[in-house]
């Protein structure tokens, strides 16, 4: 017999199957891990979740394309389906209470939320899984209808932060405490605190354990975005958001070497998010990453400064936007390595 394998070994095997695009091999790995005695929660989080983390990191590092990420996610979803259909996995009768899990509006990365959903079900919670990109209005309608003990919100992509804040405030206004998680909130959950989320957890296991400890906070209704973020009173975020299309046209106007319209639209999105959070580093980090991606594609990054200058000219009346753009230019000039 081979010695007992660690979750990491199974994750390595699943990673190979996922990279090969081999769905049935992937399912085989996960079921073998389960049959070797690893608990369902451990397979979900330490094998499937670990592979999903690697996929995300590979995308950030530009080692896989966006379609590879979709393919990996599709395979991992099927793996989860197969795991839960395995006779060794039985869901207990829900005894803890009812919670809602949703991705914030515009957020497509549904798998981290799905993992939390299944872990909570395994631990005896009744879970309503609203899936990816849930508009606030639909989330609220659901809360009023079902009255959950808590809403868990997932956001992976930084530009979803304003939408996340809106959702947090709306849920709390409906008297429901909010737990947030996902890379968008920062490695230590800094944005979760900034936005007044009731709870932040670094991963699904920590979230499940926190929920099972009980004594959930009781948020006070009536808070508004500007209460958490007084700088929003200058309306620069609203201004940039409303003029996004014009800004993209202006930033792509210089012509030769400027980033594509889609890439520029993302750049403007990051600028708006940096204004929302008043965090220059969020914008600079994205720029450094973009320059790095362009470089690995063998494209010159010379268009980025030109695009920033065009944006600065368009936004010369907005002091915070000028500051954020200047910080971005400085980061490009310093050739800061992209965040890990």
């Amino acid at each position: 017999m081979t010695p007992a394998r660690q979750p990491g070994d199974w994750a390595d095997a699943l990673w190979d199957a996922v990279r090969a695009g081999d769905g049935s091999a992937a399912t085989g790995v996960a079921l073998a891990a389960l049959e070797s005695g690893l608990g369902p929660e451990d397979v979900l989080l330490d094998v499937v979740g670990e592979v999903q983390r690697r996929v995300g990191q590979a995308w950030v590092d530009n080692r896989v394309g966006i379609t590879d990420e979709h393919a990996a996610t599709a395979i991992d979803s099927r793996v989860i389906d197969a795991l839960l259909a395995h006779p060794a996995v039985t869901l207990p009768e829900p005894t803890h209470g009812r919670v809602t899990v949703a991705c914030v509006d515009g957020e497509w990365h549904a798998l981290p939320a799905r993992l939390l959903v299944e872990v909570l079900r395994l631990r005896g919670w009744q879970v309503d899984d609203l899936g990816p990109q849930v508009p606030v209005a639909r989330l609220l309608e659901h809360l009023h209808r079902t009255g959950p003990a808590l809403v868990a919100l997932s956001a992976s992509f930084s530009t979803r932060l304003p939408a996340a804040h809106e959702a947090i405030l709306a849920c709390q206004d409906a008297g429901t405490p909010v737990l947030v998680g996902g890379p968008a909130f920062g490695p230590g959950g800094g944005y979760a605190r900034l936005f007044g989320a009731d709870l932040w957890c670094p991963d699904a296991r920590a979230a499940a354990e926190r929920l099972c400890r009980g004594h959930l906070p009781r948020p006070a209704p009536g808070r508004q975005a500007v209460d958490d973020l007084p700088h929003l009173a200058d309306e620069e975020y609203a201004h940039v958001t409303l003029r996004a299309a014009r800004l993209v046209r202006a930033a792509t106007a210089p012509g030769d070497g400027v980033p594509s319209a889609q890439r520029t639209a993302t750049l403007v999105d990051f600028l708006a998010t940096a204004l929302y959070t008043d965090d220059d580093a969020l914008f600079s980090g994205h720029l450094a990453w973009s320059a790095h991606i362009l470089a690995t594609h063998g494209e010159p990054a010379t268009g980025l400064p030109a695009a920033l200058d065009a944006l600065a000219a368009e936004l010369r009346d907005l002091p915070r936007a000028r500051r954020v753009l200047a910080a971005g230019r400085a980061a490009l000039a310093a050739d800061v390595p992209p965040p890990p």
Binding site: A20, G21, G23, T67, H70, A71, A74, P135, H144, R145
Partner: protein, 549 residues
Amino acid sequence: MTSPAAPADPAHGTGDGPPWDAVPCPLLLVGAEGTVLRANGGALALLPAVVPGRPLRATAPDWLISAHRHLTGRPRGVTPGDGDIVCGPVGGRTVRATPTPGPDGGVTWWLADDSDDRHLADALRHERDRTAFLTELSNRLLASLNLDRCMEATAWLAATHMADGVTVIASTTDRTHHVTHCVRGGEPERRALSLDLDALPELGLALSGHPPSARGIDPAALPARLLPPGMGPVGSVRLTPLPGHGRSAGVMLLLGGPDRDVHGEQERERDDVTLRLFAARAGAAMSAARLYAEQAAITATLTRDLLPPHAPRLEGVELATGYRPSGDTERIGGDFYDVHPGSADVPEPLVVLGDVSGKGLDAAVLTGKIRTTLHALIPVAPDHRRLLDLLNGALLDTTGDRFATLVLASVGHDGPALRLRLTSAGHPPPLVLRTDGTVETVATSGTLLGVLPHAEARTAAVRLAPGDACLLHTDGITEARGGPTADEFFGEERLRAVLAECAGLPAEAVAERVQMVVAQWLGSGRHDDIALAVLRAPAAPRPGRAAPP
């Protein structure tokens, strides 16, 4: 400031000289050794026990004696401040005393009757507390349209502000009562209880809205299961009806511990007003939540069959679907799909995807009608043209000026490959994605449904080799308006380009990729309903790769 008219001669300390009595403020002069030297008429009226010539400590109230001792006990020359001003009760009134030390070690106490000010300040503070409480109450109660949440908020607020323990019982039409408990400092707990109201006539009356105001009841008459878990001995119970929108929303039991009489306190009258306001708001909130729940339940029942179905697993076929209604709050719309898995009579599974003119609930109702009709027509499904003609006839008779477009896909097997028969009735033609990234438009077309007396359509046969995929979609994708400049259609070219990038991906990944790109294209802009379905022949297994460890 110096002490007024410091006495030249302690023997004249009776205090009836003109300068002292002329001072329009009660004054008390206490010598360095603690004897009351002088007191004017005002002071004697306020402190009737004080006798000039006798020690202060024998005649004045304790709080003044202690303040005087404190003041004279510290080193000379320390200037008295606001902290030396003292207040205390004297026979039902409140007196304020402000000291001014004299140069000889004596102290002049300036007295004032503070009762009225104190009373007003108390009343103001009480009103402010009540306003703050009622504001918090409104915020918390109006926050949720969910009955359980409203009851939790009611119980928690009452336990925090008004009682040691609270039980809230919702009115109901059956015998099961929804009950929420909360003890002070604890968390609300929900329970469902079956209550025999004949045995609890007072509670039964209150639950039906009588009597209309709060009243005390005998704690011994209350069954233990109506008490919050963890609640100690109960000394008093106050039964408070919660009126709501013309009917009773429920009742609230305010419970006091043995040391606390929840309905016998001095400020009962004032508390009564607050309690009535509380009960009215809680009752209104619970009643609104109940109405919302009733309406939501009706809506859910009526629209259940209009929701996009979960795609069933089809043997040997990868199938992924996606749906996004135009309205943020809606879950249904004018786009639809359906999957009929096949049966003994009609073995080929049939996938339908379509679009009804218009948006929202009206359009959704028509999609329900079409799906039901199609379900009944499944026996003729092998003949797409006949199916469409029958459906067209049914729609002509019933839909008024509305029309529909749809595409039918019958799925047959040919070894590991799939043999599709595709028919469009006025619908955007399906696209086929080959494993090499080629995207083909399927040559099928036909008339839209519900307009012309007879439906015409041309069916196309398509073979999907393992790994090939076929996309059925509605025009919500190609007509999505947005992009970097916010005013461009997504268009078929972009759709084909996105598909080309998805060559070889699982059906779910293709569906997700297309939806995500379109969602990014739309940004926060308004959009039409969007539906899509991806059919794929599973890729051949690749033996020898990525075996389990």
